[in-house]
């Protein structure tokens, strides 16, 4: 049923939004490795009449470094095509005149260079990985609990992601821990927040129903894009688990083995 639906909408498609980690490549030691066929798949979309943007919750590096890594893997990609949470958070912090206490990966710190951080009045957490120590969590907790009205921003709310040596806890887990400790609710910047998808659509100048999201995270990629009015496919790579296909609340518009198969099907149906 769903399969047929998404293929029907392919003819009216004007743009594609791709998740990156788990769709283009699997992360891990040494930067990770491309998923077979994905370098070629990106090239094929770019050669078609479809627009292409990338939406990532990657917060372990600045966009520049991150894009450079993907270029080294062979991907045809540029910084202006990539939407990531750190620049989006910076825009919000500046707009609301906030001074953040940061619990983020060292490599993404440069994104927050141009903002005052002394006497913080909010906390920003990203995927800090090994920096998620008890001490660092406690420091963030103490900043929050001292505030009259604690403000916590979370760069994404993912549960876990896949690296070459296995599944790893994502920022959402630590966001939940701080939420519970302080009895507050975090503001999520990045997927699955509809604003985040909308910024990519606005950049392409298209409507949600003219766009297709492809991701490996059922809740954040697929569910988030659907909430924004887009159709969305789940790839069976990255953090995909077979139980995703019987998830109680989120059902993808289609399931494909990998990005290469998705692009094959899209281009085939558009040419018919």
């Amino acid at each position: 049923m769903a399969e047929k639906d998404w293929k029907d909408c392919v003819k009216n498609l004007k743009g594609v939004v791709l998740d990156m980690c788990g769709v283009l490549y699997d992360s891990g030691e040494g930067g990770g490795i491309p998923i077979p066929g994905s370098v070629e798949a990106v090239k094929r979309i770019k050669a078609s009449d479809l627009q292409l943007r990338f939406c990532t919750n990657e917060t372990q590096a600045t966009r520049e470094k991150f894009v450079a890594k993907l270029q080294r893997m062979g991907f045809d990609i540029s910084v202006s095509e990539v939407f990531s949470p750190a620049p989006a958070a910076m825009a919000i912090l500046k707009e609301r005149n906030l001074r953040p206490h940061l619990l983020v990966h060292d490599d993404v710190l440069p994104e927050f260079n141009n903002i005052k951080k002394t006497n913080p009045n909010c906390v920003v957490i990203g995927d800090a990985a090994d920096k998620f120590s008890y001490q660092n969590m406690n420091d963030a907790f103490r900043v929050l609990i001292e505030l009259e009205k604690p403000v916590l921003f979370s760069l994404g709310r993912g549960r876990y992601y896949k690296e070459t040596d296995g599944l790893k806890l994502d920022v959402g887990v630590f966001m939940k821990a701080l939420e519970y400790a302080c009895d507050i609710e975090a503001e999520v910047v990045g997927k699955p927040a509809p604003m985040f998808f909308q910024s990519a659509l606005t950049d392409m100048g298209i409507q949600p129903e003219q766009a297709l999201m492809i991701g490996d995270d059922l809740v954040n990629d697929v569910g988030g894009a659907q909430n924004c009015g887009m159709k969305a496919l789940q790839v069976r790579t990255g953090k995909y688990r077979p139980s995703d296909e019987t998830h109680p609340t989120v059902t993808a518009d289609g399931y494909v083995n990998d990005l290469a198969e998705a692009v094959d099907l899209i281009l085939k149906h558009r040419s018919q």
Partner: protein, 280 residues
């Protein structure tokens, strides 16, 4: 016994208890062991008394005034006594040593802690746990097989709450290992300020795996039922006495025990309004 009742403070303000009364009670007292007056008044139906430790019998290394004598008096009554506490860092031996230093006459088998409850569950289900516990608590798990773990037990373990260890726990849970929380406190007070308790990390792991932890400490029903199990006593035949209105009194009441709140330890004015027991 009746000859000594004059020693109880506010004795005259404690009316006789209706034997049909099954609702829990609370007592207002100011430092005196008046609750034992109530215990005596109820003894026809009473088989067991559960008593919290910290804040009720002692505060750190200081005895709550009158507590030793009160306990001696209670020992003369035909009721079983057990000492129940939410501990995640101190093993039974450490607790017992402190109580003995403070001249309380208590035996190890009378102490039931959240760690005891966790161990009980692990044994009952034949699990091999990954123990996220401080070294000082590990003694209570002596003899439990922990190689090739198929369960995760989380206590207060700042040394273990790091990314690597949490990932290890997470991966076990994805493979089906149940999560057992010794308790779910949000934070606690340290000398240098507030510090995260086990609750936030338990909540994080629950979110990561979309599962619910089994919480074994107070205020869980299973905790009180397990404490009463070897006393051959139904919940309505027991009383819980403690200084924590939610974990001690509220938890006991939800299980069917009567709960008595003492105004010592962590008690704060207005705590009695946080629950709605029958006023005595």
């Amino acid at each position: 016994m009746p000859a000594k009742t004059s020693r109880f403070l506010y004795r005259s303000s404690v009316p006789p208890l209706d034997p049909q009364e099954t609702e829990s009670i609370r007592i207002y007292w100011r430092g005196g062991p008046v609750f034992f007056a109530a215990v005596m008044a109820m003894r026809q139906t009473l088989k067991a008394v559960l008593i919290d430790l910290s804040g009720t019998l002692h505060i750190e290394d200081t005895v709550v005034p009158g507590a030793q004598e009160a306990l001696s008096r209670l020992r003369q009554a035909p009721v079983a006594v057990k000492f129940v506490t939410n501990t995640t860092k101190e093993c039974k031996r450490t607790l017992l040593e402190r109580l003995h230093r403070l001249d309380f006459s208590i035996q190890e088998k009378e102490i039931f802690t959240s760690l005891t409850a966790a161990r009980g569950l692990v044994e009952q289900r034949n699990m091999r746990p990954l123990l996220l516990l401080e070294d000082s608590a590990l003694e209570d798990f002596a003899g439990i097989a922990t190689s090739d773990p198929n369960a995760v037990v989380v206590g207060l373990a700042p040394d273990h709450f790091n990314y690597q260890m949490l990932n290890k726990a997470f991966r076990l849970m994805l493979d089906g290992a149940p999560l057992i929380a010794v308790h779910k406190a949000r934070y606690y007070k340290r000398k240098d300020g507030l510090a995260l308790g086990p609750g936030p990390f338990v909540t994080g792991l629950e979110y990561a795996t979309d599962t619910q932890a089994t919480v074994v400490g107070k205020p869980e029903k299973t905790f009180f039922l397990e404490a009463l199990r070897d006393l051959n006593c139904k919940p309505e035949e027991a009383i819980m006495i403690g200084d924590d209105v939610r974990d001690d009194v509220g938890g006991a009441q939800n299980t069917g025990l009567r709960g008595i709140l003492v105004k010592t330890g962590k008690y704060r004015a207005g705590d009695e309004d946080k629950i709605s027991p029958h006023r005595m």
